[in-house]
């Protein structure tokens, strides 16, 4: 019974993760510019991967495997914001202007600084 | 033991040199000649140990089927001796010219020597690939060592083509592995005849293409003239004299061991490649104005000679190929050393600017003359003898086309070497009056003397018999398999 519960919960998590992955990829395809796509990419991680991995951690045969799943989650949580942030900043510094933007306080700050 | 040391000693020398350099460079001055000498002696010792009977060294104490084994037989012994002499001369030349300053050069040099010994000794196909890669990388680096634009470009081209060749070799090894699930060469040779033909073809083609790319046979030779002419003199001598020969060794070993019984048409391919590279190399060399480039194209042609010998696939053919390899090492190393030194001294490599060099650099030009005569095949010198045996081998196999190509190539080569020599001996002015330094002269003189001696030795039947024995032993795959697998 507990075993079956485990399976159900795990696959539920995984299904949610896959759903989020697919939507995020849809976002990557549909969104208009880099910055918005970065959001979608972040979601691929947080929405998709984390849930799938959590499901995997539940499903894993031994505690060592579960621990490794947890480690993967932890490292994703540490590393991915870094890379997303670095890319966003690099894009902005490189001079790629967002195609669709309603408010840009960062741009104002940079231009102020330059002056 | 000695076989292992022949690889390990230069390798650890290469590891030690940075330490010596970083912590007191005086040690470098002291130890570098010792290392060079040690590598030379150990290589020769390995050659000697393998000449009579099969000498084996098992790594990790595992039998040949399980681990890697080093095998020295007659064929590898001859090539080991060749490598020892070629590397020694090149080392001496460079040491005399540059001293201990460019220590990284020595690191790469010793890596090259170690890996060449490894290729010559190893009895395992994948291990051969690994050593092959080391020495290829070292060779690319040595080519681009001088960092002139020619050197860099040549190094890059050499690298790309050589890497493609290496991948072909890797592919061949992979197919051999897929088919037999083993990579020991003896075990492979034992199981090759039962292989499906399609696989056999792929292995053969990959091996031949890969080794030809590395050796510089005709349609694959394009990196060779660039690399050999752009490198510094010592490196040119090393590349033309030794490095290319190691590829030839691999070709001989692999083709004889694997395809001798299973797929004899490989030898036709090798013969055709040999004929093509002979004619192509000579024809291209005959219009060169740059002396090092001329010599480099001549190397292509000489590779063709050797490959014709290999392609005959008979004991005489192999013996002639081996003999010619050795001779070519002597001649081409000597030629590169003399011509390179002359070109460095007068600061031009254009042949037309070398008018009257004889009257200013008597010793070097005389040595060059002897060596050039030898490479053309003037009778009492070694080039003639090896060509004669090549002709004998090809006539024995009734491939007159190859024999005629040999003759024709010799005629063309005479034409361009005479062009160079006549420029040297035409009176002319405008060179500084000093003779090259002693050690270089000594190397050149030694090599030309060796040319004369080796030209006369085969007249004494026993000595030629030795070479034929090497060839027939290399052909005798059954003995090889038995010696490696049953011990």
């Amino acid at each position: 019974m507990i075993q079956e519960m485990r399976f159900v919960v795990a696959y539920l998590f995984m299904a949610i993760g896959v759903f989020f992955s697919l939507t995020s990829v849809l976002g990557i395809i549909r969104f208009p510019d880099v910055y918005t796509r970065i959001h979608a990419g972040t979601k691929a991680l947080t929405g998709g991967a984390l849930f799938v991995l959590a499901g995997g951690a539940i499903l894993a045969p031994s505690w060592q495997a579960s621990a490794k799943f947890v480690l993967i989650i932890v490292f994703f949580l540490i590393t991915n914001p870094l890379s997303s942030h670095a890319i966003a900043r690099a894009c902005y510094r490189h001079g790629i202007k967002p195609e669709l933007i309603y408010k840009d306080e960062y741009g104002e700050k940079i231009s102020n600084k330059k002056e | 033991m000695i076989l292992t040391l022949a690889v390990i000693f230069p390798l650890s020398s290469a590891f030690v040199i940075p330490l010596l350099h970083l912590y007191g460079s005086r040690g470098l001055r002291l130890f570098l000649p010792i290392m060079g000498l040690g590598a030379f002696v150990l290589t020769l010792a390995a050659a000697a140990s393998g000449f009579g009977d099969y000498a084996l060294a098992f790594f990790g104490g595992w039998p040949a089927r399980l681990g890697v084994v080093f095998v020295a037989d007659g064929l590898s012994s001859v090539f080991l001796a060749l490598a020892a002499f070629g590397c020694g001369a090149s080392f001496l030349y460079f040491y005399e010219q540059m001293g201990t300053g460019p220590w990284r050069f020595y690191v790469i040099f010793f890596l090259l020597q170690a890996s060449m010994n490894g290729v010559l000794l190893t009895g395992d196909l994948f291990n051969m690939f690994v050593f092959y890669e080391i020495f290829s990388l070292a060779a690319y680096l040595l080519v681009s060592y001088s960092l002139t634009w020619q050197a860099v470009e040549a190094g890059l081209k050499y690298l790309v083509m050589g890497t493609v060749g290496a991948f072909f070799i890797l592919l061949g090894a992979a197919y051999a592995f897929i088919a037999t699930k083993t990579l020991n060469m003896a075990a492979l040779a034992a199981s090759f005849p039962q292989m499906p033909k399609a696989t056999l073809i792929v292995i053969a083609a990959c091996m031949v293409v890969g080794f030809s790319l590395k050796a510089g046979a005709f349609p694959f030779h394009f990196w060779l003239p660039d690399a050999h002419s752009s490198a510094i003199t010592a490196v040119s001598a090393l590349l033309s004299g030794v490095v290319v020969k190691v590829s030839i060794y691999s070709l001989i070993r692999v083709s004889l061991l694997f395809f001798g019984d299973a797929l004899p048409s490989v030898f036709d391919v090798i013969t055709v490649l040999g004929v093509l590279s002979l004619l192509g190399g000579h024809l291209m060399a005959s219009r060169q104005q740059d002396i090092k480039r001329l010599l480099a194209y001549s190397t292509v042609a000489q590779i063709g000679y050797i490959m014709i010998g290999v392609g005959m696939g008979t004991a005489t053919g192999i013996a002639a190929a081996v003999f010619h390899s050795f001779n070519h090492m002597l001649m081409k190393s000597g030629l590169f050393i003399t011509a390179g030194r002359l070109a460095e001294e007068i600061k031009t490599r254009n042949i037309q600017d070398m008018k009257g060099l004889y009257y200013h650099r008597r010793g070097m030009v005389l040595a060059f003359t002897v060596l050039a005569a030898a490479i053309v095949g003037v009778p009492p010198l070694n080039g003639f003898m090896s060509k004669w045996y090549l002709v004998v081998a090809s006539v024995e196999k009734r491939s007159f086309l190859a024999a005629l190509a040999l003759v024709f190539g010799t005629v063309i080569s005479a034409s361009y070497y005479i062009r160079v020599l006549s420029v040297f001996y035409t009176p002319g002015e405008g060179f500084s009056e000093h003779e090259s330094r002693r050690p270089v002269l000594a190397i050149a003189a030694l090599f030309s003397a060796c040319c004369v001696v080796l030209g006369l030795l085969p007249f004494f039947t026993p000595i030629w018999e030795l070479f034929v024995e090497v060839g027939s032993k290399a052909l005798n795959t059954k003995d090889y398999i038995a010696a490696v697998l049953l011990k």
Partner: protein
Amino acid sequence: MGLLLLCLGIGWWLWKGVAAMEDPEFIIGPAAYYIINTAEETGAANIVAAILFDYRGIDTLGEASVIYTTVCGVAMLFSKSKYKRSSAGLSFIARRGVSFLVPFLLLYGSTIILMGHMTPGGGFQGGAVFATVTILLCIVFGSSFEMSRIKPKTKETIESLGGLFFVFLGGVGLLAGAGFLANTAAGFPRGQVGNFLSAGAIPLLNIAVGMKVGAGLSTIFYSMVRVLELEFGEQMSEVEGNDKN
């Protein structure tokens, strides 16, 4: 197009080469022996590591030498160049995050090296992780930051020592009369399979390779990062010169 056809022609023959063979049902050749006997003979749980460092140790020495050659070569090619030191790195967030990660990366690398005889991994992979760490440091903190910590001299020393250590461990076997790179036959303790201290010399060899690869790959990166090159014309006499960095 012709070129594509050319390549596909090669591919066609290659395909015929494999298509002629049947899929293997079971393992033959030396590998069967390895699978059965590795635990007993070497004490390593990872058969690949046992093959790499014991059965075919000379291959690994060759592999290490390949990297060494490349390192020396790249350093030689760029020996005339100099570092353009700069501390312009990435943003503070990236710096902080990476600096938080670095100890874990280091531990991860050393774990891979030390567990090479039990789990996937080994000297090469761990060394590559170390190299990645140094590269990351350079990228994130700017080149001046990392330079103040590990000098090229140190790296080169580490690399040479790694190589010598490998050769020394091999030489022990040679001295013991069991052949170069012999493991248990040369008296290294076999230990309990799956235990940390097992497999004789394999962990030590892993460490040697890890030293070599880690120092080597990061040297390659740092050599290539050097920018300013004095164009010395093309005379041969000025090649190399004195290589002080």
